[in-house]
Symmetry: C2
Subunit: 352 residues, 2 copies
């Protein structure tokens, strides 16, 4: 987008903010204080009125003014699920930026976040944080409209799906990471390289396996679809799919796992089959969680700068809150880097 | 405490709540709204006035009434530091209870939590959560008085020091855990058993090593102080102290580590020295973090029900908030249990 195009987009956005609170109240057939109550997420409004007012706020593209003054000193951090050490790296990053800004972090999981009569988004609207950071978690249109009408800025970190070009987001160079991991294995001399992937609905997971394919193809090696096993990002998937790959008579001599937890599952599968890492099978992970250094053998992995990504997301959402419209079109990808440890080695000569 | 004694304590507490807000304002030479501002953690009060009013609130043992109505739908969770997967288990527990109660969790680290002119406790006072859960983190007298005067209940989880008998707290049976871990090693036939401990200022750490000593003594085995290495709860301490212990010519055949991260550090030290776990050295950890199942060999460890402890702490603080005075005297210890995996075995016969 050129600066001129961006300026035009901003003008369009501004001109949409025509309806005042009073006009919305009139159209809804309620008083202005009732519209205020809806905006503030107060419980003492009937569901029917709330729905009608929300609908009008949405169609008029209403955006609260002077939100800065009425904000709570909070940042909302929303996870789809908070299952692995991964989450802790992210929390730490957001916490670092929040502390500097004198804010506290409110944590929630989007799964099961509905409470009777009041949705998660209502709660956010009621507490008016400085911003919302969504981690691998998506907002539906209604939630997005609700936050926009309260001028609560939001940012998506490492989007699971396509966040839309109008949603600012922070990711990592997943494709580059998959490429670097697989090139490393190719350079060691491996020609039969398997892959364990995360869920295909997650873009980050697709990007990693596409990088793997690109490395094979640019090296002139065939891509064998039967060596690509799709799972989720948990340890058990690495174990289960690892057993499948390593039990094959023509088993791969190296495997690129979709993340570190899968790699640890793969370690377990190898142990169970009496195979040694890296002598019998080389393993590369993704993320570089603290545990990657601690396992035996220490794991070669693609470092994803989770804490830095979370810091960038937090800074971005605060910029948006200060009205920095240029930030709204931002899509940042931080660089991944290969960390070589002891789980990768040259393949043994066949039959040796 | 008998029911009668408890009733008397309650009466004493109530009679201390004599000073009204108006009286405190008069004594401080300010208006009642100014006292309100201090209570609400508002920034527009001079530091001198704030100090004077806080002092009077404290000396009069002022406690805000009808706090229920004005509370935000939040629970504050405060860590001393949020460095390991340990923290995630705790967050999950608090989140479980908060979700059921329709509350959100505000997260902070007590280290470095001061922002100019306003302390962490001021921020808490300003947002008026349903309660505060402190994890391995202590409140000083002034912070305690500040929360009490706002009727913000608090609970300490797994106290680092002595929380005082008047502070409700949730812990685990650390002593029993140390005993069970060491007895398991004794029963396997080990007689030279080392220990790596956490910081001695933390009660949980002292209790574990006392359980270790008790197991040796009740088995008629000598306690060799030179086999007890004191560190902190991080991976590096396990590695560093593990090297010290395992490099000795009369090295122990088994080591009880203060937690799982130390145990993983010990694994690394053993690998570096060419020693195998459990053939050359048996290892027991403490906590049972998810990673304990994933490392090679899977770690024998003492399970500490961190998520359940955090749930209990959250339920307790909500009970306190509902005015359940009986909960105020609570000190709960949840049971630990030994989980035997593959890192422990009988010692090899000397010289074999």
């Amino acid at each position: 987008m050129t600066p001129r195009e961006r300026a035009q987009t901003q003008t369009t956005r501004r001109s949409a903010q025509t309806a005042t609170l009073a006009e919305i109240a009139r159209e809804a057939g309620v008083s202005a204080p009732t519209v205020s109550k809806v905006l503030n997420g107060r419980a003492d409004v009937s569901p029917a009125t709330r729905t009608r007012v929300e609908e009008l706020l949405r169609t008029h593209g209403y955006r609260r003014r002077r939100a800065e003054a009425t904000r709570s000193p909070l940042i909302d951090l929303v996870f789809h699920e908070m299952e692995s050490a991964w989450a802790l790296e992210v929390i730490r990053g957001v916490e670092n930026v929040a502390r500097e800004a004198g804010l506290s972090v409110v944590l929630s999981e989007s799964a099961g976040r509905l409470t009777p009569g009041r949705t998660w988004a209502d709660q956010v609207a009621a507490r008016r944080p400085h911003g919302v950071i969504l981690v691998l978690s998506e907002l539906d249109q209604a939630q997005r409209a609700l936050l926009t009408s309260r001028s609560v800025p939001f940012v998506v970190m490492d989007p699971a799906g396509d966040p839309g070009t109008d949603v600012p987001s922070i990711g990592a160079t997943n494709w580059q990471g998959g490429l670097a991991a697989t090139r490393h294995l190719v350079e060691l001399g491996h020609t039969r390289i398997g892959a364990i992937t995360g869920p295909s609905r997650m873009l980050c997971s697709r990007a990693r396996v596409d990088g793997y394919r690109a490395a094979l193809e640019t090296a002139g090696l065939p891509v064998d679809p039967s060596l690509i096993a799709a799972g989720d990002f948990h340890h058990d998937a690495g174990y289960r799919l690892g057993l499948q790959l390593l039990r094959r008579p023509d088993r791969p001599t190296a495997v690129f796992a979709g993340n570190d937890l899968q790699a640890l599952g793969l370690y377990e599968a190898a142990r169970e089959l009496g195979l040694r890492v890296p002598e019998d099978v080389s393993v590369v992970g993704f993320d570089d969680l603290p545990v990657a250094r601690w396992v035996g053998p220490p794991l070669t992995t693609v470092r994803q700068p989770l804490t830095e990504m979370a810091e960038a997301a937090a800074r971005l959402v605060l910029e948006l809150g200060r009205g920095d419209e240029a930030a709204a079109a931002t899509r940042v990808e931080l660089a991944t880097s290969l960390v070589v440890r002891s789980s990768t080695a040259a393949p043994r000569v066949a039959g040796s």
